[in-house]
């Protein structure tokens, strides 16, 4: 091969690679733009207000181009918030405890045995968690509690908690593992017990990483659609107790999108929900970036 063709190949490939990079940007931009364009239709075309969408609980969008219905997604938003908050409440302590166990109590078994176990949990498709929830949890709740059907906020929260705990565990474990060894040695040298070292040294140092893991878990829970839709009961009402069914954003999109008329008020309102989910997931990214940037000193001082 002569030099000229080698250099030409170099130039051509540089552009090809740049193209691939650019393509990724274009896809991201396209998703953002399409969501923004479709999602704002509720406000621009059908003239609803943002506060109606966010706070009103009257959800009766018309499946016509004329519009004139109501697009209050309050119940759906509250459903998403409650289930995610409960899931987080259940999953976070367990995840952090497990991560401590794997990283600090049994470090060598932790790496060789527990890490693959957690990876398997992460890898189980969410639809299977939903199916397990539907076939085990829902009948269980119906039989042993006062729940009417078993489809409930509690069932959805438990399914979500089981789905996100491996995510939080593995991020927390990484955060704990990246705490410099010298910190622990210093504390042990002063006569601290293992639990004192964990509680007073390791966890405070790793807290930014742990928090990032929790937000990541929350983001996963917020965006999960089908696993929740299988067990939440899809009842368009505020739940009065944990055992009542309700509905959330993702399950509404999953259930109703296929049946709406393209471009109708109903259709657009569902797109607005999708846009809302997109915005929330962007906020979570920013939050994680902010948290990890605050904890950034740690990795530099290693």
């Amino acid at each position: 091969m002569n030099i000229e063709s080698t250099l030409r190949a170099d130039r051509i490939w540089r552009n090809v690679i740049r193209g691939a990079g650019l393509f990724l940007l274009i896809i991201t931009a396209a998703i953002g733009i399409f969501l923004l364009y479709r999602g704002t239709g509720t406000f621009t075309i059908y003239g609803h207000s943002l506060s109606e969408f966010l706070f009103s609980t009257q959800w009766q969008p018309a499946d016509t181009l004329a519009g004139g219905g109501h697009v209050g997604a309050g119940i759906y938003i509250v459903g998403s918030l409650i289930t995610c908050a409960l899931a987080l409440l259940m999953a976070t302590p367990v995840s952090i405890a497990l991560a401590i166990y794997m990283a600090e109590i049994t470090p060598s078994v932790g790496r060789r045995f527990w890490q693959p176990v957690i990876e398997i949990f992460v890898g189980i498709p969410s639809i299977i968690y939903g199916w397990l929830g539907l076939t085990i949890l829902v009948p269980f709740l119906q039989k042993y509690t006062t729940a009417d059907s078993g489809f409930s906020v509690l069932a959805a929260s438990i399914v979500l908690a089981i789905m996100i705990f491996p995510t939080i565990t593995s991020v927390t474990m990484n955060a704990i593992n990246s705490v410099p060894k010298t910190y622990r040695q210093g504390a042990y040298g002063l006569g601290a017990t293992r639990w004192e070292v964990i509680y007073k040294i390791v966890l405070p140092v790793a807290k930014h990483g742990i928090l990032a893991g929790v937000v990541l878990g929350l983001a996963r829970a917020f965006g999960e659609a089908l696993a929740v839709a299988m067990v939440i009961g899809k009842m368009k009402a505020f739940p009065k107790s944990l055992l009542d069914p309700t509905v959330n954003l993702t399950s509404a999109i999953a259930a109703d999108m296929g049946g709406t008329m393209e471009g109708s008020e109903y259709n657009m309102a569902l797109w607005t929900m999708a846009l809302f989910l997109f915005v929330i997931s962007l906020l979570f990214i920013l939050l994680i970036r902010y948290i990890t940037s605050k904890g950034g000193n740690l990795s530099e001082s290693k």
Binding site: I17, W131, F278
Partner: protein
């Protein structure tokens, strides 16, 4: 035992707290393992206790077609996202100027990988189905899922390239190689084990994807295995036919399906999905160990 009595109170409390917490953590870890064993056991038991050979058939009475669709869809998705993802990864690691370009790329990748898959499914539905005026089809599903795998593969490639010793590239440049020669003949081959492992992991993760597919690949499947005409809407390899995957089959059988075998089929689908995911995750681990050992051997 005199020595232990001599331990002052606070210290003794600290020691017993330590033991108590350790015990508690052991129990929690055991419970977690039990949960996993319970899940897998339950799925395997429900699938096998209702098992009938016809459930495996490549016809509407079995999950064979869904199994084929799942594999074919992931294959198509990887066909699209591997070249683009590796390209984007190379760009991030080798071409993008430090600072702005990298920052924008990173934000873009993070955005894509945190996108709720139902939102991605809507995007795919709008762009690949409605705007192209087509019916649900596997190709649209593959395009949508490839958006999920794209950021994964790009990140993996970037990390793999960055993990290489700087001396690799320097040695190559020192011999007069161009940038592309260095990348294609030195860096990519050296990073290959990590990249291929990452791709297998990415594949394992999309087998179970459902929300992104329900409005794109479709919820029905009709394959005529005798067909040899790839343009026929019932030909197995025609990417422009609708193709329900295993995960969508589970979703559909929750209530909509009137087939008395629906629950048995869903259990079996769940078991097959689990088996696929496990195989890929364990396979990726084994392969990466094997390739790493081989690489280390070559360096000696």
């Amino acid at each position: 035992m005199k020595a232990s009595k001599a331990i002052p109170g606070p210290r003794r409390r600290a020691l017993s707290t330590d033991r108590l917490v350790t015990l508690g953590l052991h129990i929690l870890a055991g419970a977690t393992l039990l949960l996993l064993v319970g899940f897998v056991g339950h799925i395997a038991w429900s699938a096998l206790s209702e098992f009938k050979p016809e459930l495996l058939a490549f016809s509407p009475t079995g999950i064979g077609n869904q199994f084929f669709n799942t594999i074919y869809l992931v294959f198509l998705a990887l066909l699209i996202s591997i070249p683009l993802g590796i390209g984007a990864g190379i760009y991030m690691a080798e071409y993008a100027t430090k600072g702005k370009a990298q920052k924008i790329m990173r934000i873009s990748i993070e955005t894509l990988s945190s996108l709720p898959s139902i939102v991605l499914g809507l995007f795919g539905y709008l762009v690949f189905i409605i705007m192209t005026n087509s019916q649900w089809n596997l190709f649209a599903g593959a395009l949508t899922v490839s958006i999920l795998t794209l950021p994964l593969i790009a990140t993996i490639t970037e990390d793999a390239l960055r993990a290489l010793p700087a001396s690799y590239a320097k040695g190559s440049y020192g011999l007069g190689a161009t940038k592309w020669q260095t990348i294609s003949r030195v860096l990519i081959p050296a990073a290959f084990p990590a990249i291929i492992t990452g791709i297998i992991l990415a594949a394992g993760r999309v087998f179970g994807e459902a929300a992104a597919l329900m409005f794109t690949a479709g919820m029905s499947t009709d394959i005529n295995w005798a067909s040899t005409d790839i343009t026929s809407p019932t030909n197995a390899f025609n990417p422009f036919r609708s193709g329900e995957t295993l995960s969508l089959q589970i979703w559909a059988s929750r209530s909509e399906s009137l087939d008395p075998n629906a629950s048995a089929m869903a259990n079996l689908s769940a078991l097959v999905l689990l088996a696929l995911v496990f195989t890929f995750s364990i396979g990726a681990r084994a392969l990466s160990r094997h390739l790493n050992r081989k690489n280390l051997g070559d360096n000696k």
